[in-house]
């Protein structure tokens, strides 16, 4: 057999990121000031992001694909990781868990996501998913002195392992049926042998839906999310609500759109009730939350429901709308967490909604920023959240799902109530005590970036829309 060394250029971002993650891990031993490690990580990610503009193509046979689609998702992951590190620096010092491996774990988790976005093969997908998941399990329990954080990690790990089993089961059925794990080969085999109506194929689609549904926190596979989001360190909650979710959507889109292209109607029929249930559970249960992290966990479930609409359309435009939505969601959600994280100070947890009473009086700037993020999450123009929702709704209506959009719109109106409640607490109630704010320069930068992005995309979305459209070209 003729062995050819694979072309490594398409996976430069992953290789560079891995190198950096290892360097950061080693530097942790040498550098006492962990803030420096954080800054090096940010610089590293920024450097690695330059390699995103490198050549695209497939390598390792067809196992690894670097295309516009994966690049767009990697951009989301990079934004996610940079913003997360920015909001973490002060926070983990306040939590007294200022250990260097925090940053290398975040980087490793990001590598996992990148591999997922580029996976052209179910096995590569699984590798990426596990790398991402294992690092995030540890991060969820990073607050090692806090029993809730421990609980979160354990819950996340057990349920995550469970969902991985579903994934593997699904993959093995696909393999048994088609004799391959390559996405395009699976699609070719299904159409060549006319397996579209095969019940075991449907079974594998269901198993994969369960596994991916777990990662994107779609109901009824969302049970872990509220507890984990509440227990995990706030910075990691922000990280988890954006990164793994986007990675889940990346694989969902690629696997379903390519490997299962010939059974589009089947998986769309599975995803539609899931999307409706996800929006319902997320938005309705969020109404009664008293803990803001828990509320945002349910809100994040609900947003997965909206984003699913784009996948359900089963066309490229819909996929582009989902990608656009995830990018916008990254900014607005991490922005909201950047405000939440400021309320945590030594001896004060600050994660109850009642802690926001009268914030506009004591800290007007923080209140205004939170107001912007809340309205963006509701989807009120002129914020980015509106553009995201509009694009999703447009592509869904274009695909003939007007009734589904009407349902989404109703839930979106319901969601306004719990976002407004935060604003109501901040602006319309008197402060009981003066809540101290933990401000830091890095967190300020994160807030600046997210606010600017939310407002700019809201008014001038053309650039991002173009980017999403270009990314989907030739998918």
């Amino acid at each position: 057999m003729n062995f050819q060394f694979p072309d490594l250029t398409p996976m430069m971002p992953e290789l560079a990121m891995t190198a950096f993650a290892l360097i950061v891990m080693l530097l942790d031993l040498l550098i006492k000031k962990k803030e420096v490690v954080a800054l090096i990580s940010i610089a590293g990610v920024a450097l690695v992001s330059l390699t995103l503009f490198g050549p695209s193509g497939t390598t390792f046979g067809t196992m690894f694909i670097s295309d516009g689609y994966s690049t767009f998702f990697k951009l989301i992951f990079f934004i996610n990781v940079i913003l997360t590190i920015l909001i973490s620096i002060k926070y983990i010092a306040v939590e007294k868990v200022n250990y260097g491996e925090y940053y290398s774990l975040i980087l490793f988790s990001t590598i996992g996501m990148m591999v997922m976005a580029s996976a052209g093969d179910l096995i590569v997908l699984y590798l990426g998913l596990e790398l991402m998941a294992l690092s995030t399990y540890v991060l969820a329990g990073f607050n090692r002195h806090d029993i809730k954080s421990n609980e979160a990690a354990l819950k996340y790990f057990l349920l995550g392992a469970f969902s991985s089993a579903f994934l593997l089961y699904g993959i093995s059925i696909v393999y048994g049926l088609t004799g391959t794990t390559d996405l395009r080969a699976i699609a070719a085999f299904i159409s060549a042998r006319d397996l579209a109506h095969n019940s075991s194929l449907l079974l594998s689609v269901i198993f994969l839906t369960v596994a991916f549904g777990f990662k994107i926190a779609a109901a009824p596979f969302h049970m872990w999310a509220p507890d984990v989001y509440e227990g995990a360190p706030t910075s990691i909650t922000a990280f988890m609500s954006v990164g793994p979710k986007a990675a889940g959507f990346a694989v969902l889109g690629r696997v379903f759109m390519i490997a299962f292209a010939s059974v589009k109607a089947d998986w769309a029929a599975i995803l539609i009730p899931i999307a409706i249930l996800t929006m319902a559970v997320g938005n309705i249960v969020a109404l009664s939350q008293t803990n803001i992290k828990r509320m945002l966990a349910y809100s994040s479930i609900a947003h997965a429901g909206y984003a699913l609409l784009g996948i359900i359309t089963a066309n490229n435009e819909g996929l582009a709308s989902t990608m656009n939505y995830l990018m916008i969601y990254a900014f607005m959600n991490i922005g909201a967490f950047a405000v939440i994280i400021m309320l945590r100070s030594e001896g004060f947890k600050g994660d109850n909604i009642s802690d926001y009473e009268g914030l506009s009086k004591t800290h007007p700037l923080a209140a205004v920023l939170m107001l912007i993020f809340m309205f963006s999450l509701t989807g009120i123009p002129p914020t980015a959240g509106f553009i995201g929702k509009l694009y999703i709704f447009m592509s869904a209506i274009n695909a003939g799902y007007t009734w589904l959009v009407v349902i989404a719109v109703i839930f979106s109106a319901i969601s306004a109530y719990f976002y407004l409640r935060i604003i109501m607490y901040m602006y319309m109630r008197e402060p009981k005590t003066t809540v101290p704010l933990t401000t830091s320069f890095s967190n300020g930068i994160a807030l600046g970036i997210t606010t600017a992005a939310v407002l700019l995309i809201g008014v001038l979305p053309a650039y991002l829309l173009n980017l999403a459209k270009a990314a989907i070209k030739g998918f």
Binding site: V405, Y417, L420
Partner: protein
């Protein structure tokens, strides 16, 4: 396409200036130091006066001989979605822009002393609301329109919720949710239109197309949900009494004078020309809802014990007249409807301002706490008298002209609707005069002794409104003349819609034969 619009003939973009000048003022206030409260006030006043004077050329330079959009500005905005920054005005919208800019000044002035907390934020909210309201009336691109339409909720929500009365939070959230639900259905409708008409948000282009009847009906109701809530039409009016009552005076004035006009404006601008066949088919339902609104609002007024709540319910009744006129679908009804929107803005705005003036002194809204005010505040009493009579629709005041035209149109469309609507006027005279009697006549309430009459600032606020009451009442043509060509064009559009259906039916009949 280009024949439908007249590009801005002035040397500067007048509409954009009028829309965004208040935003600029808001930014200036944002940069101002928190403790310099009076500077914030002066910036707000200066900005609103400047905006008003900048909007006057729209009135004087307006070409009254055409229905085409004027002062048009058009720029590419989001090319991917074929979205333009496309603004312009015609005979329907021009007067509301002036009303909005005038209202802004009055709102700033009336809040001069009554708003004591978060002054900076308050004036930012007022200016932003003004800007978005003007934007709504100018937009000729659905996307742009929706942005302004929804964005306006944010400052308005805060105005009610932060500076309002004791039950303000409930009122603010109710207001927000009601309007949001309605608007979201409209958003779905807009997207459906956009995709059906070949991906364009251009309102003028959308109006040139014909849509299948069933689609028209669905879309009519989708748009209805947004506009009816804003008007507000009976049974979705329940947010209005709460919002009006709890809002600070400036908030009530904005709500009454401009914001609720947007619903009726939406019917005129979108529902009628886009869905002519559905509008005609739905006329009986719309007339019924309007008449119920007129009578229901008026009867409820008789039972009110709260001053602001009474005026709020009278708005429901008066806006019933407006929708009655609009859905009479004839020239008198439509022109009367538009004029009555203006009238209602002036008169109800003035009534809320007047209530605000006395509330600042007594801090009570209960009618029972008043009595004999005419002896304590005679100037105030005479101003209030004029607005009361205008609200009733006494000849020589503006209310008379509007209601007369509407009833004329209403009788033409449906006699019963006309007859029933008349009872609304009678009850209206009843509750307004009774209110006047309870507040200004009878024995002087002990708590009211020593009240100071209106000062210069308050008089200045009310004088332009008095002036408008009589101007429209005595010489309405200077306002009606703006509307003639536009309304005429609208009616033609309504009829062509029907004619096309008829032609299709005739063709089908011919084929069958």
């Amino acid at each position: 396409m280009e024949q439908q619009v007249i590009m801005n003939q002035l040397s500067y973009p007048i509409l954009s200036t009028v829309i965004f000048l208040p935003v600029l003022g808001a930014l200036l206030i944002l940069l101002n130091r928190r403790s310099w409260e009076s500077l914030s006030r002066w910036i707000a006043l200066g900005t609103s006066i400047a905006t008003f004077f900048l909007s006057i050329p729209l009135f004087t330079m307006f070409d009254k001989s055409t229905h085409k959009m004027q002062f048009v500005e058009k720029f590419k905005w989001i090319p991917d979605w074929n979205i333009y920054y496309f603004i312009g005005i015609d005979g329907i919208s021009v007067l509301f822009i002036l009303l909005s800019t005038l209202t802004a000044i009055l709102c700033v002035l009336i809040s001069w002393e009554s708003i004591k907390t978060k002054v900076k934020e308050f004036y930012i909210a007022i200016l932003l609301t003004t800007s978005f309201m003007i934007g709504v009336f100018c937009s000729l691109d659905f996307f742009l329109f929706y942005i302004f339409w929804e964005a306006m909720l944010i400052p308005m929500f805060l105005i009610i919720g932060v500076w309002g009365g004791p039950n303000r939070i409930y009122a603010a959230i109710k207001f927000f949710l009601y309007t949001l639900v309605g608007s979201l259905f409209m958003l779905v409708g807009i997207i459906v239109l956009y995709l059906y008409a070949g991906k364009t948000f251009n309102i003028l282009e959308l109006m040139t197309k014909t849509y299948p009847f069933t689609m028209q009906v669905w879309l009519f109701w989708a748009f209805f949900s947004a506009f009816a809530v804003k008007v507000p039409m009976w049974p979705v009016h329940t947010w209005l009494p709460d919002a009006h009552t709890e809002a600070p005076t400036a908030g009530s004035v904005i709500l009454a004078a401009v914001l609720i006009k947007m619903g009726a404006y939406g019917f005129l601008r979108f529902s009628l020309p886009l869905f002519p066949d559905a509008s005609q088919a739905m006329t009986p339902i719309m007339l019924t809802l309007s008449v119920i609104g007129i009578i229901y609002g008026a009867v409820i007024c008789l039972a009110q014990t709260d001053l602001k709540r009474l005026i709020a319910y009278s708005s429901v009744s008066h806006m019933g007249f407006v929708t009655l006129g609009i859905f009479a679908l004839n020239i008198q009804g439509l022109e009367g409807g538009i004029l009555q929107m203006l009238n209602h803005g002036i008169v109800t705005g003035a009534l809320f301002l007047s209530v605000g003036i006395v509330y600042d002194r007594t801090h009570t809204r209960k009618i029972a706490d008043y009595g004999g005010l005419a002896t304590e505040m005679p100037i105030y009493a005479s101003f209030f008298m004029v607005f009361t009579l205008a609200s009733i629709g006494l000849p020589a005041t503006n209310g008379f002209i509007g209601e007369f035209l509407i009833l004329l149109g209403g009788f033409k469309a449906n006699q019963w609707a006309g007859v029933l609507a008349c009872t609304g006027i009678i009850i209206g005279a009843g509750y307004m005069l009774w209110l006047y009697q309870r507040i200004f006549f009878m024995e002087v309430n002990a708590k009211l002794h020593g009240l100071v009459d209106m000062d210069v600032r308050e008089t200045i606020i009310l004088i332009p409104l008095i002036f408008l009451v009589f101007w429209i009442g005595i010489y309405p043509d200077s306002f009606l003349s703006f509307m003639h060509p536009t309304v005429q064009h609208l009616i033609e559009r309504l009829n062509t819609g029907g004619v096309q259906e008829m032609n299709i039916a005739k063709t089908i009949m011919g084929v069958v034969k």
